[in-house]
Every structure is written in C-alpha cells, then in structure tokens.
Amino acid sequence: MSMKTEELSALIKQQLANYQDDLSVDEVGTVTYVGDGIARAQGLENAMANELLQFSNGSYGMAQNLETDDVGIIILGEFDNIREGDQVKRTGRIMEVPVGDGMIGRVVNALGQPVDGMGPIASDKTRPIESPAPGVMQRQSVFEPLQTGLKAIDSLVPIGRGQRELIIGDRKTGKTSIAIDTILNQKGQNMICIYVAIGQKESTVRTQVETLRKYGAMDYTIVLTAGPSEPAPMLYIAPYAGSAMGEEFMYNGKHVLIIFDDLSKQATSYREISLLLRRPPGREAYPGDIFYTHSRLLERSAKLSDALGGGSMTALPVIETQAGDLSAYIPTNVISITDGQIFLQSDLFYAGTRPAIDAGSSVSRVGGDAQIKAMKKVAGTLRLDLASFRELEAFTQFGSDLDAATQAKLNRGRRTVEVLKQPLHQPLPVEKQVLILYALTHGFLDPVPVDDIASFESGLFDYFDSNAADLEKTIATTGDLPDTDKLDAAMKAFAAGFQAPSATSNTTAATN
C-alpha cells in the first residue's frame, strides 16, 4: 500500500492549518514529598479540588487536599520515577472518562482505557467522574421490574429499575454469582449492564468476562476493573467512573444496571488514601467522609422523570462482611443508604441452599411496587410461610408426634426451600417463575417427594412449553395470571402424568 506524495502533503497541510501556535502558559508547583501513591506539592495556588494535575513524568494526579501552603495529590499511575523537586502542572480539567456506545462490550480500567487488547475505543464523548445526583424533581418512583431471573430474589426481594439493592454476605457465599446471573438475565431486556470490579483478582475478572461472553452478555455489558495491583486511587475512583458511564445512558432515556463488586474494598482503598493524606481517622480508622463517599455514589442511581426521558440506573452494590457481622461500620452505612438488602448466609450456602438468601433479613423497600401482578399473587404469602416454617422446623426437631396441620406446614416449607434453589447461570424468565410458584402455593407440589422437586420443575416447564405455551405468553405479556381454571387444568394434567424419578429408581432397585 503506497500513498501518493501529494495526498500525504495535503493531509499534513490540513493538520497544520489546525495547529495553533500559542504560547503555552502553565501553572506549576514543585513536588515536596512523594511516596505510597501520594504526593505533596508547593505552589499550584489556584488548583481546584479534584483537579487533574500532570507530573513531569507524564503521570496524572488528582488534587485532594488543598491546604495553606501545599496541595495533597493522589497519583493515578506510575509514581516510581517522580522525584522531590519535580514539577507538577495544572491542567484546568477535572477527571473525566470516555462514555457512550463505543464502551459496550469492552473491558476497561478506572480511567476508561481498554485493557482487553481489542484496540482503541471509538468514543468522542467524556463525562466527569463526579457529578451531582438527580434532584427531587428530576426523579419518579420506581415502578418497572428488573428481573434478576432468580426465583428467590424476584419473589421475595423484588428489585425495580432505579432501585439500589445491596448484596451483602461473607466471603464465598455467592454474592458475585447473583450479580453475574442478573446480568445474564438482562439479555433482550433493553438494559445496559456495567460490572465494576473493585480490587477483584485479575484471574476472577477474567473468568467473569469469559462467562459473560459465553452467554452472549458482553453485547450489552461494560466491564470496568481496578485490580488489587493497581494503586489505591484507581480503586477509589472506579465506581465513580462506572457511574459516569452509566449516567450517559440513563440521561439518554436508557436503562442501566450497575454492579459495584465490592464497595468494602473501595472503602478500604479510600481509607488508605485518607490516612496517607493525613486526614484524621475515625471509627475503624475510616475517614470522616466515608459515609458521604458511598451515599453520593449510590444517590446517582435513579429513576428519571418522564420529562428527562425516563431512563434509569439500578445499582447492586456488594459488601463483604466478616463472619456475618452486619453491624460493622461499612455494612451499616451502606445498608442505611440502599433501598434494601439481599443477605447471603454461609450456613445456608454450605447446607446446599443456593442462592443462599436469608429470607428473614433480606428486604426490598421499593421493589414490591415493581412486581408484576401475577408474581404478587403467587409470592404474596411466601415470605410468611418461610418464616413460620423456619420457626416450626427448629421447634419440631425434637418432637415426633405432630398434628396434621403442622405436618402440612412443614411439608410445604421444605418444598418452598427446595423450589427457591436454583443452579448457577440458569436464570429463569418471570413467567416460568410464576408457574412453579403457582404450583407450590396451590399444593401441586405437596405429593411430590422433596428430592424430585427439581425434575418436577423442569418437567413442568417442558410440558407448558409444548402444551400450554399460550398461558405462559399471557403471563409474560399481560403480567397477570391467566384464567386459573385453565392453569389448574394444565397443572393437574402434568402432575397426573409425572413419574418421580426417585420412585422409579426405587422400584427398579426393589425388583432387582
């Protein structure tokens, strides 16, 4: 491929025409201290809070502490070759990240630069990472459902578009799995997902990206990662950068789901920065503004009014607890900021109840309004049933003689727990969830042995897909339960023909 000389010179001429021969005037300061990703500089008298500054080695920094005679700077990048006495320059800009459609399907770092080796990102738009949250008049109440595809969440702790629902639990209780499954279920739901991995192992992030890619979820997902090997400021700014990317879609009338995985690590990195900047430590050595750090972040997720296009940003922050301690500083803070929490318990997880959602301590403060009618009808009493089952179960551990009513309650409870179990990466559409919950609450599952519930469930779905697809369609389109006589008839027809696999294997074993 050769380019003609004339073309080349025409191109250069055009570029030269745009080149402006200005004197460059810079305001500078002198680095007086550097270490641990923090620098202090004298000078820079007019520096603004959060202004982007450039060091002489090309690294950028963010002005954090503006003091009487120096400026505390967090360094976003290489700081090994910054020396005392180096110059640091004002840029007059505040920290921005690229936003827009070009980001979708990419894996980027906290500065919005691609890290997936798929070339530069085609984006000419940027947004400041910190921006004020929508005000009272710019919002409306949450009314559309966000289907996570998990029976236990959509029935017990429903989430609406624009809600902030906390996912909280000990390590290894399936917090990230809930988040990833929720992303997988947004396929074809007109939703853009942003997965912000804060301090997650690079190998874990790689695995998640591969999972998302395998299920075709990268077509509508942005993954933003700030790994544990990156300096603390990157971890600190990552959720704000993710929110900025989400806001661009939200303010254009689209629906966004953003997951912060996890905010405990962001709090820890902010604590590190604050202590190094010599801000006074408070409880658990977190700085005084740690609450504001999270509240201003989560407040940016909202359901916008119709005048602003009606876009929404749903946030699923993740918090890791230590030994189930919900009363630690960061968990209590974030619980009070969010509109509810999904509490995952390690005991349940190891007992095989997965997702390990503790129905008693999990709540959703606004999502109920966003549930479809059919779901409301079938799941209305589920929470109470579960609660009374847990109570009875503990009570009857020692007794043997039970009256029929108690026995029935226990049976129903065991089946409820079984129905709410769900394998990894298999989100269910809402109509199917309604079907199985309908079967449960109307007693169709009572004669089925607990071990066979899973095969009954899959059989039921197959049966409806082939014999009563119109009923499923009614639920999906109208959101209401179809004619209950028809539904009951179809259920009965399937239940009558259902052969429990454990029963058959038992009989074959007996004949042998």
Binding site: L11, L16, Y19, L23, S24, V25, D26, G43, R278, P280
Partner: protein, 184 residues
C-alpha cells in the same frame, strides 16, 4: 490536620514576617535585605556552619563563639534575629527565614523574580525589554532575571516565575506540532 511538632518550614514565615515588620518600622528594609544576603552567602560558602550550630556534641559555649563571629558587623536587627533563632533552637530555620524575608521584601518593592531560559545569551537591551514585559505581566515594578542558556531549547524563550511557566521555545512548539500530527 492533627497538631504535630512544628517544622522549620512552619516557623520560618513567623520569623520572616516579624523581621520584615521590624525592618519596615525602622525603614531599614533594604539594609536588612543586603545583610541577610551576606549571611546567606556565608552560609552557602560554609555548608558545615549550620551543621556545627545544630550538632548535639558541640558545647553551647563553642557554638556561641562561632555565632559571635558571624554576627560581627551586622546591624542590631539581623544579629538579634540570628541570636534569637539560636537561643530558641531554631538556627536550622535560618535559610528559610531569609528566603521568607526576601519574598516579603520583593513583594513589597514590586520586584518579580524570574528565570529565563534561552538558547543564546541575551543582549542587555533584550534583557531590559524582557524584564519590563515580565514585570507588567506579573503586576510588579521591576523584574530580576536569572538567565539560563540552554541550547536544547533551540530558540525562543521560556520564563518561569510566580509558579507559572510561559513557554515560547521552539523545542516545545516542535513537540506540540509532532503531537498534533501524530494524533490523527
């Protein structure tokens, strides 16, 4: 900020300001400035002097003798300043106090300090007009230029003053030009 032990950098402005105000009331700013410049050059010529004055293993009497030598031929104000810094164990802050005094003196006199980097030595007329331009730009009366000759800037002039850099050198322009051409 949590109160911590005051560093020399913290206390220097206090001494500097007091010295300047006393000098002002005695109308001896210029004289004090000149004398402090002498002290500064003495300190620069004898780097060990401050080390000895701050050393723990030298007796106070010996230090005092040394100090008396320095104080000779100085006005009462400057010699009192040095004695006071020594008595309060702040003799290490002396260079910073002098810097602070100089800054105050120059601000009051409208003198602008500037560092000028050029590829070739400037003629006197050029220095004169450049100094005038710098003084107007930074809102002072006169400018004191420190000249640096650096052939790598190729041409033009780079001015550093008051935490600002005004860069009109050919090397910077070439850098910007190459960045603009490579950006596409």
């Amino acid at each position: 900020m949590i109160p911590m032990a005051l560093t020399n950098r913290d206390v220097a402005p206090r001494y500097g300001r007091s010295t300047f105000e006393v000098a002002q009331s005695q109308q001896g700013e210029q004289q004090t400035f000149d004398e402090l410049a002498q002290v500064q050059s003495v300190l620069a010529d004898n780097p060990q002097l401050l080390q000895v004055l701050e050393a723990a293993n030298v007796s106070p009497e010996d230090k005092q003798k040394l100090l008396d030598n320095v104080k000779q031929a100085l006005s009462p104000l400057v010699s009192n300043l040095i004695q006071m810094l020594f008595d309060y164990g702040r003799i290490g802050a002396l260079p910073l106090v002098i810097t602070d005094y100089n800054a105050r003196f120059k601000a009051a006199q409208g003198i602008i300090d500037a560092t000028v980097t050029t590829a070739v030595t400037l003629s006197d007329a050029q220095v004169e007009s450049l100094g005038q331009a710098i003084a107007t730009r930074f809102g002072g009366k006169t400018a004191q230029l420190q000249q640096i000759v650096d052939p790598t800037v190729l041409g033009g002039v780079k001015i550093m003053s008051q935490n600002q850099i005004i860069d009109g050198t050919v090397s910077t322009k070439l850098k910007k030009l190459s960045a603009a051409l490579l950006a596409e």
